[in-house]
């Protein structure tokens, strides 16, 4: 799709019962997960991706980045708690849990989390009442998008 067309489709929607899709999933997973998270949803389009922003009822701002083909290539969150990471990371959740366990010994203490696998990058930091996180699949990033662009 051409950027102009995407921009013309820009939508601002407020729904009482939105949800979020899983990393690696497509837009159909938004509906599949709809009842899990409650909040308000905002959708907008940039040049090379569509952004779903969801404010959950317990105050977490979740962002999902969808490539033109409709696949979620990145997610981020910010809030007093984590969102449901099993749902948000979807098929990558098990890899996430295993990676944390593997690196705890090497870490020699506590601090922010950086997982840098070939097929999965996850960055989480903060503390109770103030968490920030981001996860993306490098291979699915649209051309020209850098990880730093995903806030």
């Amino acid at each position: 799709m051409r950027p102009k067309l995407i921009r013309s489709l820009l939508m601002m929607i407020a729904l009482p019962l939105p949800s979020f899709a899983s990393l690696g999933g497509d837009t159909t997973s938004v509906r599949a997960d709809q009842e899990k998270m409650q909040g308000t949803l905002r959708t907008s389009s940039a040049n090379s991706y569509t952004l779903h922003e969801i404010l959950t009822s317990n105050g977490v701002l979740v962002k999902e980045y969808l490539a033109p083909a409709g696949r979620v290539f990145a997610v981020s969150w910010q809030g007093p708690v984590h969102p449901d990471l099993r749902q948000l990371l979807g098929p990558y959740f098990d890899e996430y849990v295993q990676a944390i366990q593997e690196r705890r010994q090497q870490r020699r203490g506590h601090g922010p989390l950086l997982i840098q696998h070939a097929g999965l990058v996850v960055q989480v930091s903060g503390h109770v009442r103030g968490f920030v996180g981001k996860a993306y699949v490098p291979q699915q990033m649209p051309a020209g998008i850098r990880a730093e662009d995903l806030q």
Binding site: V97, R108, H110
Partner: protein
């Protein structure tokens, strides 16, 4: 609430009379701790930074830059039915006392919620969560006492089944191997671990507290007074915050000793002096840090529980990440950097720090302390333990009055 000295003395005298008179029913313990009241240093808890309880077999995983202390937990009202727990992590990044069930020998009374069912907590951390029942204890910490304090007992065998809504935070931190400590002494800027967000019913609840039956656990509302509470907030005196004092560190050490001093401006040993007060965003407990061209707006915090200074990324800083310690920076030579911290009150100050090669700092497994330990971080500026080396850092509890104003704030 802060009492004047006269009010405090009056309160102490009153509780002494009640204890002597054997006035029952309140759950307060006998006067055995009274000998500490007013004696020099009763508001001081010794802390040690070393490789910690995980260093030896079977885990062989030494900590680095982790501050430990001892706390004593007793069955409420008892002075003999107690456990002294060593190697508890001192953490200004969380609030509330949590102890591994495996480190305890006594049984504490469980807190119960709806239907008389036990309350069990799921506390989220960056890389997982702790899960375990809320129980009540009389807790002695460095000569101060928090009576009838709700604490979390982590990894209790009585609640082995973790709800999926809790395990969605990542892997559990329910044992020594994952916690690197026998417990966490959370003395951060919040009075409770959750606050108002756990008192709301319905989908807006933050979801820390559950009531459990034989058929499972479900999220429950938890009143502020029942939540796992910063023990300092429940002390009879010196209850408006803490002061962390650690010596200056150059390079590496096996171990260093310091103090966690209770109260701010309440005794001769905890005055603010010339420290600058940086007030915090009341919801996140953060301040603002500027580093080069990056501003972490209400996204920076001082955290004794983090073992380095964590900020930005290799691309932006130009500092490579380590080959072995991949969560840390490994510059070819030590970098001298500075950042600016700014409080919600507008107070602002430059802070100089160093970043050294973490693979070299940590090459010896007996090293428990390292200045210059730093690493990349996305989204926050995490001022971990090296920030605290060689200075006095105050953490004021939300809503509590101090000579420097009302908390929450950090001052240094």
């Amino acid at each position: 609430m802060t009492l004047t000295r006269a009010q405090r003395l009056g309160y102490l005298a009153l509780t002494g009379v009640l204890a002597t008179a054997g006035c029952g029913g309140s759950g307060r313990s006998s006067s055995s701790s009274g000998g500490n009241d007013g004696s020099a240093g009763s508001n001081v808890l010794a802390i040690t930074v070393n490789t910690g309880p995980n260093a030896g077999p079977p885990n062989n995983s030494p900590s680095i830059n982790t501050a430990f202390a001892s706390v004593t937990v007793c069955v409420p009202g008892s002075t003999s039915n107690c456990d002294t727990i060593n190697d508890v992590l001192v953490d200004t990044g969380s609030s509330g006392l949590r102890i591994l069930a495996s480190a305890m020998t006594i049984s504490l009374p469980p807190q119960t919620g709806a239907g008389g069912n036990p309350v069990v907590e799921c506390l989220p951390f960056v890389d997982g969560f702790t899960w375990g029942p809320v129980q009540t204890a009389d807790v002695s910490i460095g000569g101060e006492q928090a009576k009838n304090l709700p604490i979390q007992v982590i990894g209790s065998a009585n609640f082995p089944s973790i709800p999926s809504s809790c395990s969605s935070n990542g892997p559990p931190k329910n044992d020594l191997k994952s916690l690197f400590a026998n417990g966490i002494l959370g003395v951060g800027p919040f009075a409770q671990d959750c606050g108002g967000a756990c008192t709301i019913s319905g989908a807006s609840n933050a979801g820390f507290y559950y009531t459990c039956t034989s058929s499972g656990c479900s999220i429950t509302t938890e009143a502020l007074a029942s939540q796992v509470e910063n023990p300092v907030a429940l002390f009879a005196t010196d209850n408006n915050g803490v002061l962390v004092e650690l010596p200056a560190v150059t390079g590496t050490e096996t171990s260093v000793s310091g103090s966690l001093i209770f109260g701010i401006g309440t005794q001769s040993n905890n005055g603010l002096g010339s420290a600058t007060v940086y007030t915090l965003d009341p919801s996140s407990g953060n301040l603002t840090t500027r580093f080069n061209n990056t501003t972490y707006q209400n996204a920076a915090f001082l955290d004794t529980g983090s073992n380095g200074i964590f900020f930005l990324d290799s691309t932006t800083t130009g500092i490579p990440v380590c080959k072995d310690m991949t969560s840390f920076y490994c510059p070819a030579s030590t970098q001298n950097l500075s950042a600016t911290n700014q409080g919600a009150n507008g107070a602002s100050g430059t802070f100089d720090f160093v970043v050294s090669n973490a693979d070299m700092l940590a090459s010896n497994s007996t090293t428990g302390v390292a200045n210059g330990l730093a690493g990349p971080n996305s989204g926050t500026f995490d001022w971990g333990l090296p920030f605290f080396f060689g200075r006095k850092v105050f953490t004021a509890i939300e809503g509590r009055n101090t000579p420097g104003g009302t908390g929450p704030f950090w001052a240094y």
